[in-house]
């Protein structure tokens, strides 16, 4: 958290209403998101209890395991879930575009991708565990399950893992997304409560939000009081209807909140980088679909050493790129870097568009721009700069002091003897320059999987699930 966000939280607390910390939306919002609110049985790792889900806010589907300790009912629930989620996911595979690649074969990318929205980070964790508990099952053998169950398991594993990828919108956790756009007047810990966070954003803090009788928890854990006083007796009564109706009361309020939150986010205009990140999501989704179509085995229980290191490196790069993109897309995010001196903004007070350096053939055009700023600039002469106002342009800091910064433009001003029209800002224009750049950093030199050093476990064996995996108890 930055000081800027801390200040917003203080302001929120003082004014009794959340404060914006973004001026644009930084996540993709699907035209037809699948809202998924799962509940699990307390005390169990991944025993599903119920889920409310669907793409139509007026017609949620409610799936319930009326006796969560009954294995057959549990797999029947998983099959039912697959019956809703798989058609939704696979529905995006029909329309594709061909993407040309440098040094690689062209591939087919889905023109749109599924988006499964869960209430919170714990919901993502539960999706991952559900995926883990289903993907090694088999349709044949001693404990047969419907064929759709292991397939759903692989997809849920994929979505759960992709959710950890910075900037991905395939499986957003609602409280996280809201928290990226608004600062409440409570702690981050309390922000994990969807009802409480939404109250801060819309009407102001409310103690009702923490009362499980008014706003049941958004899952996957249920309220212990509800378990003791309502759910346990309902289960003991042996009436599936009673259990179903009890769980409906716990899910319906969250269902409404989820759509309210989607509307709130939809009210913000999408940032410029959202589309390109969604394009990456579409590519990743298509890659997973191709993987499954080719008959590859389910994701292993654990990544091998090289795969894990490569994943970590990919995630770090994605995080860096995501941070930079958000700053370029959103002045309020850029302001964090202005506060620390890594960026500055102000008015152009002087220019020399025709300035050149060098003589003869090596003479180069280097337009000069002088900016007046109130920001505390902490950049050394020679620092290379980028600017959100002219994305393709590169500049270099010449000098800074007394509220005046001189920069020279080094690239992206056209190839002519004079700068292309519009390439050099006019006097009076407001501009921002920063040392943050979204330059592609090559992937670190990691060995291929086959060449994993013995110190890291040697080459991984391709994971082939065995009978034991398929029969693993799920009790």
């Amino acid at each position: 958290m930055s000081l800027l966000t801390s200040l917003a939280r203080l302001r929120a607390l003082d004014e009794g209403i959340a404060q914006p910390i973004a001026t644009v939306r930084h996540c993709h919002l699907a035209a037809r998101p699948m809202v998924f609110v799962p509940l699990k049985l307390s005390g169990e790792a991944a025993a599903p209890l119920a889920a409310m889900l669907g793409t139509d806010r007026d017609r949620p589907r409610l799936l319930v395991v009326t006796q969560p300790r009954n294995r057959d009912l549990r797999f029947a629930w998983a099959a039912e879930l697959a019956g809703v989620l798989l058609p939704y996911v696979e529905g995006f595979l029909h329309r594709t575009e061909t993407v040309e690649r440098r040094n690689a074969d062209p591939y087919e990318r889905a023109v749109d991708a599924p988006q499964i929205v869960v209430p919170n980070q714990a919901g993502v964790g539960f999706v991952r565990l559900l995926g883990r508990s289903m993907r090694f099952r088999r349709a044949d053998g001693p404990w047969p399950v419907p064929e759709s169950v292991p397939l759903l398991g692989r997809w849920l594993t994929y979505f759960g893992e992709r959710a950890a990828y910075p900037g991905s919108s395939l499986m957003p956790a609602m409280t996280e997304e809201l928290g990226r756009h608004w600062a409440s007047g409570q702690s981050g810990l309390e922000d994990a409560n969807l009802a409480a966070l939404l109250a801060w954003i819309t009407t102001g803090p409310s103690d009702d939000a923490e009362d499980p009788l008014i706003w049941p928890p958004a899952g996957p854990a249920t309220d212990p009081g509800f378990d003791a006083e309502v759910l346990a007796p309902a289960m003991e009564s042996g009436s599936p209807e009673r259990v179903t109706e009890a769980l409906r009361t716990q899910l319906e309020p969250t269902w409404g909140l989820m759509w309210q939150a989607i509307d709130l986010l939809a009210g913000l205009e999408a940032g410029a980088g959202v589309a390109s990140r969604w394009e990456q999501d579409r590519g990743s989704f298509s890659g997973m679909a191709a993987h499954i179509a080719e008959g590859a085995p389910p994701q292993p229980r654990r990544d091998g050493a090289v795969a894990a290191a490569a994943k970590l490196a990919r995630m770090e790069r994605a995080q860096a790129a995501y941070d930079v993109q958000r700053a370029y897309d959103d002045p309020l995010v850029m302001a964090e870097y202005r506060l620390t001196g890594e960026a500055f903004a102000g008015e152009v007070v002087d220019t020399d568009p025709g300035n050149t350096e060098g003589e003869g053939r090596s003479r180069k055009l280097r337009p000069i721009v002088v900016i007046k700023t109130d920001d505390p600039v902490r950049l050394a002469p020679g620092a290379s700069l980028g600017t959100p106002q002219r994305r393709g342009q590169g500049a270099e800091l010449v000098s800074a002091g007394d509220g005046l910064v001189t920069v020279k433009i080094t690239k992206g001003m056209g190839r002519g003897r004079t700068a292309a029209p519009g390439a050099v800002p006019e006097i009076g224009e407001r501009v921002c320059y920063t040392s943050l750049t979204d330059e592609f950093q090559g992937s670190p030199a990691l060995p291929d999987a086959e060449a994993t050093p013995w110190t890291h476990g040697g080459p991984p064996q391709e994971y082939v699930p065995d009978d034991e995996d398929a029969q693993e108890e799920w009790s």
Partner: protein
Amino acid sequence: MSGLKREGDHAHRLEALRGTTPQQPHDARAIAALAANPGCARRALMDGAGVDKDAAARHLGFPAPFGQSPFAITRGNVFEALVKADGCAELLRMLRELLGLTVAEVAYHDVENVGAHLRHAHTRTLIDRAARDGHDAGTLYDHPLLSLEIAGHTAYLEPDVVAFQLGGRFHIVEIKSFAVIDGQADPSAVAAAARQAAVYVLALRTLLEELGHDPLKVSHDVVLVCPENFANRPVASLVDVRRQLAVLRRQLTRMTSLDRLLEELPEDLTFDLRPDEDGRPTRPVAELGDALRRTTARYAPDCLSTCDMCFFCRDEARQEGASDLLGRQVRDELGGVASVTEALGLADGTRDPAEGQEEIARLLRNAERLRGECLA
């Protein structure tokens, strides 16, 4: 004031703080939680006096948001029963693998057989004999009853835990029902289990020391037994609790030196709930609230998962407009500016920075200017 008098005073004052409310026994979970917010005087005093914080919070109209689902309790009991079935047969199988146990024969003592009132004495005798003999046979002690001195009171620890002796070394075994899936478990659950196990390690070490044995005969590696993956099959792993032990020791030392905190309190201060015959508190709520507010709390959002008093203290922090409400990160970022109004005053320039606040004031003013500019 003489040292002697002070010591008598000390116990006396703690008794007075609790008043007629029955003493709340400390279990391992409660003792482990003591280390969660070591800087809080309110908590130290309430725990030191053995006040039932849950009952106090309830009476004040701020019941704690904690509760355990009957499903979770059942699951925990079933799992523990499974691990301990047939004289801990399953547990032995795992310990053989984990600790490279070669002995085929392992003795099993169920301390509970002797009846509750004798359990502690019996545990002492058994452990004493084991430590003295020091022969290489493995022995399991089921249902031992340990004790630990907490601020002048003896807390009895009744673990679902087994102390296991092998080659003269004892291991604490802790049975938990959260799952280990593909070698990974919920880190916060593991951390809580480690804190609890550290309490048992400390209690057992204290016991050995009292009996004149080397306390380090108790290993700082505890055996954590959890269900593996999605089944009920248990799996054991070793967890090093040295860090938790250090924190716990520090906190217990603090608790035994409550003198300073007590001295600052008015003579007649009490947290007495004045329970009636049925145990219902009759103390006027406002009076109890005032008494508690005489002690200094140190609220942090973490309290919401560790302390029964959390909603009361959060409410107090709200009334005071304390920046603590927003979490440690914000607090650290503000560099010690404790009140919301003060921080906002520095930000919008209506308040002049006190000495030492110049830097944070400059940052806040800049942040305020930037937010204003971007949101205009």
